[in-house]
Amino acid sequence: MSVGTAAPPAQAGFERTWQGHPGLRGWLMEVNNQPLGKRFMVTAIIFFLLGGVLALLMRLQLAVSDNDLLGPQVFNQLFTMHGSTMMYLFAVPFLEGLALYLLPLQLGSRDVAFPRLTAFSYWTYLFGGVLFYASFLVGVVPDAGWFAYTPLSGPRYAGLGVDFWLLGLSLVEVAGITAGVEILVTILKLRAPGMTLGRMPLFVWTMLVTGGMIIFAFTVLLTATILLELDRAAGMAFFDPERGGNSLLWQHLFWFFGHPEVYIAFLPATGIVSAVVAAFARRPVVAHVLVVVAIVMTGFLSFGLWVHHMFATGLPELAMHFFGAASLMIAVASGIQVFAWIATLWGARPDYRTPFLYLLGFFLIFVVGGMTGVMVAVVPFDLQVHDTYFVVAHFHYVLIGGVVFPVFAGLAFWLPKVTGRLLDERAGAASFWLSFVGFNLTFFPMHIMGFLGMPRRVYTYPATLGLDAHNLVATAGAFMIALGTAVFIGAFLHSLRRGRPAGEDPWQADTLEWSVSSPPPIFAFRRPPVARGRHPLWERGRPAAAVEAEHQRVTAALDAAPTTWRATLSTDPLTGAPQGVQWLPGPAMSPFLVALGLLIAAIGVVANLYILDLAGVVLAVGALARWLQPDEALLERLRQDPAPRAAGLPVFTTGAASTGWWGALCLVVILGTMFGALLYAYFYLSLFSDAWPQGGLERPGWGLAGPATGALLLAGAGLWGSRRAFHGGRRAAFVGLLGGSAAGAAAAAVLVLVELVRLPFGPGVNAYASAHFTLSGLAILALAMGTAVAAATTHRLERRLERRDAFDTLQLQVTTMLHGFALVAALATLVVLHTSPVLL
């Protein structure tokens, strides 16, 4: 395990390739994971502070009985914005930012897999959050809760505030999904040579599972928010019972996201805990394999249990027993982790420094939250306390104990790496004790308040309830937490100027980020590290395996002759064997422009200015096309570069060896999940309808759908054939087949569109019509994507066919995936839309 320290003069150019552009323009064009990860975290902390201020205002309102400081309307707005901020704008984005900053350092990579996507993710997150809070400026603050249950959030009862909520949230979801893809592909593809999946640190495992969960859960939420916005802005009827819609459909879609969401926030927190526990116990976390299985199973099981948030919605009585039992199951997976940490710390002599103090706070608080969680998993008990402060106490113990305390432990642990300075220990301890005592003062009395009948989400309570003292204590505690947070931030700012230098490895920890200087260079590792085991820094003295010599040869060659472009090692997703030298993009404006286009389009929807929508979409699509356009001069330069050949590695790889293939796969999974969520809505609505189609509407005929199906099948055959023509080098056949496939998809899209236009009813007639139009519309969009991709590929590869190399093969593979997916999804949609009314 070695990391280059002194740079020979020939390598001065290397550092220059990694420098960003100066000035505001450079700031907008930044794509590197370290500055963007820091921006993510700082932005998330600012939203955390804003959410905290909202909480303090609520506690002021509740400090005494019959208070009229805020009034019911403002109180509703505050608890909506507090919950939404903490769940959507703080917890997940912060952890994603931490992962984007930390993962390359822990994995031994120089950057993440898709740097421009990181930038796009950050900008959409920032814009979404700002749009959220812009509602305060306009004076129409969302007030339907962080869950926005219909029909309260529907067009009839909620004002413009919910539109701000839905569109701001949509942008934040897009940011979350893209960051999830980034995390997933980085972990699978950019690990240090020798870092097999089994040797990954536990924090990386938690982020791998979280990345996968985000892709499914956030996509379902994105679909749900789009459907609700369609109800509100386009007069559709998904959630309107009077037109055959179903309010509970929203709850199902929301909690299909909402339950995994709890674990999306909690799993990375356990990853932080594992890292801090190992460093402070000075030994590896006990039962590594079991802990990894528990992490993976937590993700697996969390998708089957969403209904346990809906005990009180009149589900079949029998379902309660099953869910009560199944909800207890997930406690097993969490229990494995908690016991593993306890066993690791058993007999260890940890230093009681700030990260460890926050860790102990996590243990105590989270275990209490877990216990009350087991209590609310008991159905009769849940029905008793469901809308009281007992539940408020429970989920604050889980979320603050399970997420915020680990986050602060992680901040205290990794900030010295980020800033290069140590936090002041006395200030750190003071902030911990203030937060810990304040937390328990605030939330412990809430258990009792719940038992004594104080309902949640109500702006005040009568003095006769006898809860004045409890509430006053809770309010005082809330201000103590605020003070603790302020002390922490003060200590952080102080450390920036006066903190003691941290050195490379202040905690003598085990993972690769501690092998580079603090703060790390922008390229993280000049010479890519090689992983010898699960704990690279604790295994320096261990004899090297034979395979390591080969890895060292590769990294040494890369170190000796660095490329004049940003490059990192791409490795095998399972074994971590080097597979290629991956080109990474430098500063670019297009991610910012795409995000800006989305923001403009969102503002257009809120303001009912459809010209803005058009402008936003044009900007976004134009910038995206520029982003995706291959740069032929650059490609030629990469082909000629001798440096990768010296390391014995290709610059271009294909299939599962390339990052592009994985990115396309993620996109296919995301789009497939969207189709799945819409199909779920379609069938769910049909389940609660006496007739399907509803309202005596005619069944859709095959007059146009039949030819469309034929066109799709022909397009599929053309796509299949074009691959053989490509590999056989037959230009005319290739152009005819792939171009024809694009034309077939376009023809099918047009036929479906014509069918929609010719229907005698509009999408707003009833829920069936809404679902039919929306599914068809999504199929048309998918086909448009497939057509565009296939046409662009035909155009480019036609010229490259005689000189085709791995990059061109990869382009065809990615095209096949995206275009093929569009064809299959459209075909399935047509079949479902036209057969299900007959079969059901």
Partner: protein
């Protein structure tokens, strides 16, 4: 399992087929009334497997190709098939939706993986005379060599989709009720469930010709399965109307309504079934990690 035990199983199966002549659907409640055709087929399967196993184990190293544990898994799978198809469970499944669901779960998620673990194709090959064995082996080889054939059999995604398709399509009310009316169609339903499930589990568990899917991916494969199986279970459990009115007169004897019966069935598909997917995924994944970790030596902290 020794060949003798296999023969005993087969004989027992045949014995169970005896009372089949007295099959009377109206008096089925709790009675032993095995379907003779099903019994014969299972017995034949057991016999062929046992014969193949005896021939295989008679050769040097045969017990290494198919270990006794694998043969035991096959026997257990066969026992589950017998329990699901020939015991009173099968008769009750005609009357109660949720018992029917349990029966299907046994076929698809318990019997199928166990049978696949026993390498049935490889073993039954040995039951054939040498000439036929060569011919069959050659045919299998040609199927593998034939590009579309090898491609289709090797596609994890295809097997996954096939399993999902069979699961969903058979639950369409008109198909499901048709199967309940016509015994041979019902047999076809069970056969398609079982065979497709064997193909499905083969992607993960086949000991001899392991397909392309790595064990690390088994979690993803089963997760994607449990997602859609969960949805089908959710629909069944939450539906305000009974999907299969044919059960309405039958379930009364059990003190349930058809809707309650269906809710239990849906919940069984939703939770216990998905727990099976999760458990198998956890075991495969844990085994894989364990093998990965065998090579790791936990370090002491360098000071």
């Amino acid at each position: 399992m020794s060949p003798r035990a296999a023969w005993t199983t087969a004989a027992l199966t045949l014995l169970l087929a005896g009372p089949a002549a007295a099959h009377d659907p109206t008096a089925a409640r709790g009675a032993w009334a095995p379907d003779p055709l099903v019994a014969f087929n299972l017995a034949a399967l057991a016999a062929v497997y046992a014969l193949g196993l005896r021939r295989l184990w008679a050769r040097d190293g045969g017990a290494k190709v198919v270990t006794p544990r694998r043969a035991g898994a096959f026997a257990a799978g066969l026992a589950v098939l017998v329990a699901a198809l020939l015991t009173p469970l099968a008769a009750i499944a005609e009357e109660l939706n949720w018992v029917h669901m349990v029966q299907h779960m046994l076929l698809m998620n318990v019997a199928a993986p166990l049978v696949v673990l026993g390498a049935p194709l490889r073993v039954t090959l040995w039951a054939l005379p040498v000439g036929a064995r060569r011919a069959w082996g050659g045919a299998l080889g040609r199927l593998d060599g034939w590009r579309p054939g090898g491609y289709l059999l090797g596609q994890a995604l295809l097997m996954w989709a096939l399993y999902g398709l069979v699961l969903w399509v058979w639950h369409v009310p008109r198909f499901y009720e048709a199967a309940l009316r016509a015994p041979r169609l019902h047999d076809l339903q069970h056969l398609s469930f079982f065979v497709v499930s064997c193909l499905f589990w083969r992607v993960l568990l086949d000991p001899v010709r392991r397909l392309a899917l790595s064990r690390a991916l088994s979690v993803v494969y089963l997760f994607a399965t449990s997602l859609h199986a969960t949805l089908l279970g959710v629909f069944m459990a939450l539906s305000p109307a009974a999907w299969y009115p044919i059960y309405e007169p039958r379930v009364r004897a059990w003190g349930l309504t058809a809707l309650e019966d269906q809710q239990v069935a849906g919940l069984i598909m939703w939770m216990p079934a998905c727990m099976i997917y999760a458990a198998i995924a956890a075991v495969l994944f844990g085994l894989w990690l364990h093998e990965e970790g065998e090579r790791e030596v936990e370090p002491c902290r360098a000071t």
